[in-house]
Amino acid sequence: MDEQEAIRQLKHGDIGGLEFLVNLHQGKAVRTAYLITRDPALAEDVVQEAFLQAYRSIRHFDPTRPFGPWFMRSVVHAAVKAARGNSPDPQGETLEELFADEASVEELVETAEFQERLRAALGNLPPRQRAVIVQRYFLDMGEAEMAAGLETAPGTIKWLLHEARRRLHSLLSERNSR
């Protein structure tokens, strides 16, 4: 079976099609939701609900288009909503604290310590800014696609992404100049 056949089956009410889609997309989807919610269990719940939503609205889906981007938009949207309801991480560092040492980022990204600090720092971003970072860099989405996922205007996405990225770039510049 391939993805198109799975969608065709699902449109005809055969949940075997959904099982195929779940197995194909659940890994990326749960990790995406995790980056936004910061909670593995909540991420699984979000993706489970997103699959149920896809099952309910598959009639609106154009089968000539790939399923992944359409589905990931709903995962991001649901994860942002879930993250807003989640309490903030009390251990979270600010982004300013994140890049306060001397090692290069290229070396840092491989270390568990850095990843933990990035996790905490992401936690301190508002959910929508966190979501645009995840959409852009983890899911490689374009701005129009991101706008559809977050039900917002492309201009707002541009601004959100610009704000989030500007902070990261500027923080790195500060760190490198020390």
């Binding site: 099982e19 779940v22 749960v30 149920l52 154009d62 129009a144 500007r166 510049s173």
Partner: protein
Amino acid sequence: MRDESIRKSLEALARRGIPEEPNLWPRLAARLERKGSPAMQTKWKLAWIVLLVLLGLFAVTGVAYAVYQYFNDVGLQSASNAGLISTVNVTAQPTRMPTATPPEPVTVIGNSQTLEGVSLTLEWVYLMDGQQAFGFSVAGLEGGKAIGMPVMGFGRLVPEQYRGAGLAVKDNTQPVTGTYVVNQIVRDENTFGKTDTRTDVSIDIPLLEENGQVLNTFRFEVKNELVHDGPFAGGNVYSTRANGQEMSLDWILLSSKTVQARLCFTPPDGKDWTIAPPSIQLVADITQLGSAPQVVSSQSTTPTTENGVRCQIMTFPVGASGAQAFTLNASELSTPAGEVIKGEWDFNWNQLPSQMQFPGIAPLETPLGSDDIGADVTVTLEKSYADINRMVFVVFIKSTQTDFSVSSATLKDTTGAELNTGMGISSPPDDPSRFIIEFYPETEFPAGQFKGQLIVEIGKQLGPSSGLAEAHFAVDLPVYPAVVFAPMQTVTANGVEMLLQMIKVTPSFTQAYLCYQKPSPADWMIGSQAKLKIGEDTAIQSMSTLIFDSPRLSGIGIMPEPGWSPPVKTGRCMKAGFPVGYQGQPEELVLTIGGLEQSMPEVVPDDQVQAARKKLLAQGIDMDWVTSSGNGGGGAGPVINKKPDGMSDEQVMQLFYEELGYYYPGPWIFTVEIKP
């Protein structure tokens, strides 16, 4: 932080958080068994039966069921999914539009001077009412010598409303060439509008040493030069106000090697305030401004103060070759004592001197594509759709050149009369060659069949040459009617009663007729974030029209609504439009009016902004309201520095508007079961 580093970090972080492959299927399958198969659900069966009946009634010919998801709004998407978008696929060769009388060309000068071994030729001069420019070439510019910012004088005419100047120097080729443009009004008020204005022009161009000191100055005089009619052009920001402090970009010098900018401000007190190093983003494609690298200023002159205005010249270690736009951002003023004023002073320019076209003179750096329309260009009308609320056409431009676009479009009836409509043009995501053209009627298109002509005007995406050619298409398409519901539902929130009188729904668009008593005599309208959910589709309000107002607020226009009479004697009625449709199945409709809004004045007094900011700070929100002005007009917008976790930007803005008195919170939520 480099993009690749962010990507790698997120990958690693996600793998660490979710190390094992999840297995969601067993739990999902259990939940699905409890819910049953979608194919078996009565609601779905009903929906498809209704849809098939509707399709039969509409007698649509040439309907395509598998269509691309071109559309950004859910109404058109669902109309598309329901097969209501007709496939046309008619291709036309565009015909060239009549060429307008070419403007009078620049005055060619060609005078040369040699100073310190450097020869400078003033090539041309062009004066407009709102912008003045000249071009030059230089030979012998060696040993670190450079051209500085020129000064133009206009004899007895005193320029007014200065809006910044730019100098582009192309110094990576020989001879070095340059274009200088200054935005200001040069006008003889005694003769303006009656006779041509002519003036003498003086041009001083400094020759700089390597250390930036003026070595000598070239001076040219041009006699009796005509000042052409012409407004400020482009959208360049000259000054911007943030955190109560104004700053201006006095001039910018863009060369192939570096960029210099002169920033000025009036200090809030007599202290030694300086601008912290600003940053600049230069892009070859204006749509990339958000993602271009930021280059921080590497050098600044000592501030100079003249007439209370303090200025610094900043140097950025980046060349501007090929740039079409930039954003310069300053974010801090400080004193040696450690006092700081934070702000977001952004200066956006999308009309650089290097790209500007003056009559008869090619720009220093030509935008992509040629100015002419090639014989290889074809325009295909791919799809069409109409209901009483809008007509939509999808066109595709095929060309070996990449930058053609739809610059305008008109609809005509069979008599050749142009329809009175609003019009919007957009492109689908990731598909810049396809264009969605939407027409909105002043009231409603008549339901039934529309026959007429669509005229698509083709222009260039870059540069001023829009409207080069036209493609004509005969149009014959069904106009779907609306289904009308009359809930007459009343909801009271925050002391204001609101009536949902009527809902008019087409397959792609919904209009809600709402009446309410205003909370004060001011101009209270339905809030722009009003939201409509039909079934699983949600849309934000895309239009609203005032259709009744009593007592009538002075200066407020009312659009007549044929065949409708207000259900109230006093108060206000509005028609709110949402790009979400209804295909005839039983659905729940939820209309949420979050609040009422008054339009903000162009300039909000700074003391009101500061008072609102103070109140928001007490709620954990640090935001600023930034205003800017330039040669393309002014603008204003928020900068949100800090807000409580979980609060959206929209919520922050609502609180801000509320503190300013421009927002009256509800919400008014209407739930209506709609059935065919």
